[in-house]
Amino acid sequence: MLTDITIGQYFPGTSFLHRLDPRVKIVLLFALIVAIFAFDTPGAYAALTGLTLCLAAASTVPMTLLFKSVRPLWWLLAFTFLMHLGGTPGEVIARVWIFDLTWEGLVKGLFLCLRLVLLILLSSLLTFTTSPLMLTDALERLLRPLRCFGVPAHELAMMMTIALRFVPTLIEETDKIMKAQQARGADFTSGNFFRRLYSLTPILVPLFISAFRRADELAMAMEARCYRGGNGRTRMKEMKIGRPDYAATIFVVLFLATLGALKWSGI
């Protein structure tokens, strides 16, 4: 069923990762992603993999859910791996058609896939442990310094919040309209491509109408509550950076410094 899709994929909880300040989480995630690309020794990979697994365990998000977030990128991973396996010069292990499969290619392909998987896992950990609302709030705060260059930080964040807020509503609405038309004998699954496309009209028209109606109502409601953009707005819940945030930051900085030192000294 359509409503089985979970978007925003927030997994409510109270773990250490859930309690960290979202701004700190975003910045640290960014640092770790840079590290994944900057350090390419087996030791660094092992350390980063270990860290990712520890964080995953600490987040209390079920492993099956985490791996589900990797699954859509399965094709990309397979393609990357095969490209490197067949496209790297070196010691040939086998020959398929016109491609030389090399030992170097195998290693490089595996490492690259590992990198991608770590990247996906870390980013999904962020979205799993931070509610979409907190995420956009944090982005707004992080983008605020760019306002003097004309980046509309508040407006961007507000747009994202509204979009995220309405995704489940629209999914629910689509589900309802689909069922109502099915009850009148509509069939969305048979016939050729054009026929199927045409059979979507009974869903799309009511869906757009309701989306516009909702947009209109929301705009009216916001205006009725004197919304005039971000200038001078304060918030009910200020984000606060506390001791756990400092601890996490110090830990990541030390972790990256160690990796840097090891790389620099050539181990």
Binding site: M1, T3, A183, R184, A186
Partner: protein, 292 residues
């Protein structure tokens, strides 16, 4: 033949953290020719139940049989069985999409690939039934109608399928009292004149009392009570648990009873209540002014 639910359970989003059991182990039989009301508090599973009855959801366990055919089976028999059940959703006016009223009502019959003359006949009949003049409204855009008119167009769209069983999810929600009364009147006419078997969801005890010959109370996905309305309204505990209130007339008469007047509390309209009170008062006067 009836619609039968056999030990039906339904779980939304199973095996995720958002898992939610909306119905558990519900068994019901909707007899042919009956007019059943479904009541219960918000989230008690009414909409889920009616969607199961019309084959739009398939039970997680158990079976829904329409005239003996299992709705969740594949194949022709199940398909014909599903066609026998017409379903009017909560706020059905949100499903309108065609350019003209007539085309929208014809959507269902068109999907059944009926000949054009038959489609037109059905559209005419359905519009006549919901009291929309065919010539006046057939070429109007459904989006330029008032809310109540839209709802009537949407109901006509389901009636044009000529179902044997009709299911309505809160057909009168959000309408003014006059439209509400006229929708209810039409439901009763469908039942009497067209011999449709009807199930409708409602929160309003007075509506249930004046329409239904049977009421089913749902509570947290289970059947709490299944009885004729006249009996159901005196099951105070169940009514309260279902988040409803007995009709005003019954509450008033029960208060009079508690105050010592020997009055029959089974009255579901103001007139009926007045008649009962008058009778009780006459009886009391004749009995020499004795209380009770």
């Amino acid at each position: 033949m009836p619609i039968e639910l056999k030990n039906v359970s339904y779980t939304y989003m199973p095996k995720t953290p958002f898992e939610r059991t909306a119905l558990s182990d519900v068994s019901l039989t909707i007899r042919e020719g009956s007019l059943t009301a479904l009541a219960g508090h918000t989230g008690s599973g009414k909409s889920t139940l009616v969607q199961l009855l019309s084959g739009l959801l398939h039970p997680s366990s158990g079976a829904v049989l329409v005239d003996g055919a299992d709705l969740s089976a594949k194949g022709k028999e199940a398909k014909t069985a599903r066609r026998k059940v017409g379903m009017v959703f909560q706020y059905p006016e949100h499903q309108l999409f065609e350019e003209t009223v007539a085309a929208d009502i014809a959507f269902g019959p068109r999907n059944q690939e009926l000949p054009p003359e038959e489609i037109e006949r059905r559209v005419r009949a359905a519009m006549e039934f919901v009291e929309l003049d065919y010539e006046t409204y057939k070429d109007r855009s459904p989006f330029q109608l008032s809310g109540g008119q839209k709802r009537r167009v949407a109901i006509a769209g389901v009636l044009a399928l000529e179902p044997k069983y009709l299911i309505l999810d809160e057909p009168a929600a959000g309408l003014d009292p006059r439209l509400r009364a006229s929708i209810l009147r039409r439901i009763r006419r469908l039942h009497r004149e067209k011999k449709l078997t009807i199930v409708f969801v409602s929160h309003d005890m007075a509506d249930i009392a004046c329409l239904a010959d049977r009421v089913v109370f749902l509570h947290d996905g289970r059947v709490l009570l299944d009885a004729p309305p006249r009996e159901a309204f005196f099951a105070k505990q169940e009514i309260t648990a279902a988040g409803l209130a007995p009709p005003e007339s019954v509450s008033l008469l029960m208060k009079l009873q508690a105050a010592g007047l020997a009055v029959d509390a089974a009255a579901f309209s103001a007139e009926e209540a007045a008649a009962h009170i008058q009778k009780a008062l006459t009886a009391r006067r004749k009995g020499g002014g004795r209380p009770c």
